[in-house]
């Protein structure tokens, strides 16, 4: 019965590039105050959707409302409602931390008398007060990302959209960004929408997750809801050389499992009798004399949900896209 307002409403969103339909009719409401994760394999239409939310490209049909404001009709007003951290870290290496903040503050038309205070606050928020006059080019990846996050919050937006905010960061820096995001979500009630390829990140951070594939929203729910969708059975995972993978998948299929081929492993939900099934698989592998590196069974993660739904891994490892697709086609 909660009357949560919608921060972002995506209605019947379609984007075609020539014959190619990148986004194929997405409807999605992101509630005020939530942390929402948008997931999807490369080429799924995730970036195109984000670019339409940002008003960088205009939809073929459908619309995006940001705090009720239509992005296509009133982009300048809608953009004031939203802060953005893009995939590329765009703090300017050749400007100091302060100059970076000042230029963007001015572009967001923050009045000069407020700007100085906002710059101080942003430096504090990003823990960079001591680096005010240092050139951003000298910063570590984590410092740059923190500066960027606080830069995007200078104009006090109600929504913060982050496109892969922790890609390329080490564990320590990633944790710092998570804490920063949780803090601004809690203390300033800012709705956070993020795309990520780290599924454990979505699992830990997001209240709700949407999975996009082939331009469609194929799953939507809390992380635990999504985990339940895969049937709660444990997952069997076999790593081996790439050439051996199709044979391993065939073995799984013979036993009655539904395997997916990934770049360096075969993954299959174990079913109701997972323990029995893994024994059968081990026996069959040893009979077939196929060399494997590892075989294991674990509780389902968001990764498994993602693999089951999209047939591919979220992370961009060379070749995974292709083999993932092949696996998916066979799975169907």
């Amino acid at each position: 019965m909660s009357m949560a307002l919608n921060a972002i409403q995506i209605q019947g969103l379609v984007k075609r590039f020539g014959d190619f339909t990148a986004v194929d009719g997405i409807d999605l409401d992101i509630k005020e105050g939530e942390i929402f994760g948008l997931l999807g394999p490369n080429g799924a239409g995730k970036s195109t959707t984000v670019n339409m939310i940002l008003g960088l490209i205009s939809p073929t049909s459908g619309r995006v409302l940001v705090n009720g404001i239509d992005m296509s009709k009133n982009p300048q007003k809608a953009r004031n409602e939203i802060g953005i951290v893009t995939q590329e870290t765009v703090v300017e290496a050749e400007l100091t931390a302060e100059q970076n903040l000042r230029i963007f503050g001015r572009l967001y038309h923050i009045p000069p008398e407020e700007l100085e205070r906002d710059i101080d606050f942003a430096l504090e928020l990003s823990d960079l007060t001591g680096f005010r006059h240092a050139y951003a080019g000298t910063f570590s990846g984590g410092m740059k990302r923190r500066l960027e996050v606080s830069k995007s919050l200078m104009h006090a937006p109600k929504i913060l959209l982050l496109d892969e905010p922790t890609t390329g960061l080490d564990v320590q820096n990633r944790t710092q960004i998570w804490n920063l995001l949780r803090e601004i979500n809690r203390t300033q009630n800012i709705t956070i929408v993020m795309t990520t390829q780290y599924l454990e990140e979505a699992d830990q951070l997001c209240n709700r997750i949407g999975i996009v594939d082939h331009g469609k929203l194929i799953a939507l729910g809390t992380p635990s809801e999504l985990r339940q969708r895969i049937g709660m059975s444990n997952v069997i995972e076999i790593s081996a050389d790439r050439e051996a993978l199709p044979k391993l998948a065939a073995i799984c299929r013979k036993i009655g499992l539904e395997p997916k081929l990934l770049s360096n492993k075969v993954v299959a939900p174990g079913g109701a009798r997972a323990t029995e099934n893994i024994e059968k698989v081990i026996k069959a592998i040893s009979e077939s004399k196929i060399k494997i590196q590892n075989i294991s069974m674990h509780e389902p993660t968001i990764d498994d949900v993602f693999i089951k739904l999209t047939g591919s891994e979220a992370r961009d490892t060379t070749g995974s896209f292709k083999s993932g697709r092949v696996g998916m086609m066979r799975g169907r």
């Binding site: 670019n51 960088l56 300048q76 590329e88 230029i103 963007f104 572009l107």
Partner: protein, 373 residues
């Protein structure tokens, strides 16, 4: 504030980056003019078949001999004119590089003068004409017996040369005049284009596009930055040129006119740069595109060599190239010492039209830039 304010903020940002990189930016603007002036300023090439108007008020045999001898060398091409006024008109239009006047009574006396007027805004050509006439005078002056028997010979001939445009003939001023316009156009094409490209590559362009500003203030700030770079490059080129010995015939007023011309070139070529860069994704590609456009335009605008030395089939390109007019105006200012007001107006108009067309083109190509990130 609004549009102008946003443009100013973005321009400010370009200037902050420029300042940060000044140790690279300044030498880059310095090296090119220095090499250009030192190398090109030190030697000229020798043109052939330089057109010379000849006004023969004498029509005696000695005068005809003089003209025939002159024509015998492949250095000059004689264009006969009946009146001095007509010949001088050709000279001021740049159709001929010199006017030779043979006064009546030339064939009669033992000694005589010929009058030579040279266009020092075409220093190489003027030099060739002067040398040819001097050589001819020497030959005629040492007239052979046969000539005398025929009644066509005569004694000593003095060549009285004068330059039509007050200032001294100065090949260096010629080079520097071309150089200024060349570095101005290069400065615009490369700075405005590269900053757009690097902003696109680094994601800054996207970052600006998602702020609530009008995206054309991005375009305008790049054009402003390109124009700044044009003025800076031209200024450095001019200072080096002046230190090396070039002169500005038209003085302080001329300097102001020169800055104005450079400003218009900067504006037009920065807009051209944005139009060229609007759909290019890679810096390397733009470097190629920029070179392909910048070099020929500078060359065909007469920045290196006088356009009257170019083959005929290139002349239409010369005529539509805005740099031709800019180069001519700057040379008028530096060498002729005066830029007639109507030339200033027509040159400004041509450059303004060029700028306008390029701005519209840049606008159209940049309009959907969000789709081309």
């Amino acid at each position: 504030m609004g549009f102008i304010g946003d443009t100013y903020t973005l321009f400010l940002r370009e200037m902050l980056i420029f300042k940060k990189n000044i140790r690279v930016n300044l030498p880059r603007s310095l090296i090119f003019p220095l090499i250009f002036i030192v190398l090109l300023g030190s030697f000229g090439n020798t043109p052939k078949n330089v057109p010379v108007a000849v006004v023969n008020y004498d029509n005696g045999q000695a005068a005809l001999n003089f003209i025939n001898l002159m024509q015998g060398s492949s250095a000059v091409k004689v264009v006969s004119q009946t009146t001095q006024q007509g010949a001088m008109a050709l000279l001021s239009r740049g159709t001929v590089a010199g006017v030779l006047v043979i006064p009546s009574g030339f064939s009669g006396g033992q000694e005589g003068n010929v009058y030579l007027y040279l266009d020092n805004s075409q220093p190489q050509s003027a030099e060739v004409v002067g040398a040819t006439v001097d050589a001819t005078a020497a030959k005629v002056g040492a007239g052979t017996v046969a000539d005398n028997v025929n009644g066509g010979g005569r004694g000593l001939v003095s060549v009285i040369s004068s330059y039509v445009f007050g200032a001294k003939s100065n090949y260096l001023s010629f080079v520097v005049g071309g150089l200024i316009i060349m570095v101005a156009s290069f400065g615009a094409i490369f700075s405005a284009g590269f900053t757009l490209l690097s902003d696109r590559e680094l994601g800054n362009l996207k970052a600006f596009l998602i702020t609530p500003i009008n995206k054309f203030s991005i375009l305008l700030s790049k054009i402003a930055y390109g124009t700044f770079q044009s003025l800076l490059s031209a200024y450095i080129g001019l200072v080096i040129g002046l230190l090396y010995g070039a002169t500005i015939g038209a003085g302080i007023l001329g300097l102001l006119e020169l800055i104005w011309i450079v400003f218009l070139v900067g504006l037009g070529f920065s807009a051209l740069a944005i139009a060229l860069a609007a759909r290019v994704k890679q810096i390397q590609t733009y470097a190629l595109v920029g070179q392909t456009v910048a070099m020929p335009l500078a060359f065909l605008g007469g920045a290196f060599v006088p356009v009257n030395l170019l083959p005929n089939f290139l002349l239409p390109v010369v005529a539509v190239n805005p740099l031709t007019y800019a180069v001519n105006a700057v040379r008028d200012i530096m060498i002729k010492g005066v830029l007639p007001i109507n030339t200033l107006v027509s040159t400004s108009a041509i450059l303004a039209v060029f700028t306008g067309v390029m701005m519209v083109l840049a606008y159209l190509l940049f309009r959907n830039t969000g789709e081309h990130l």
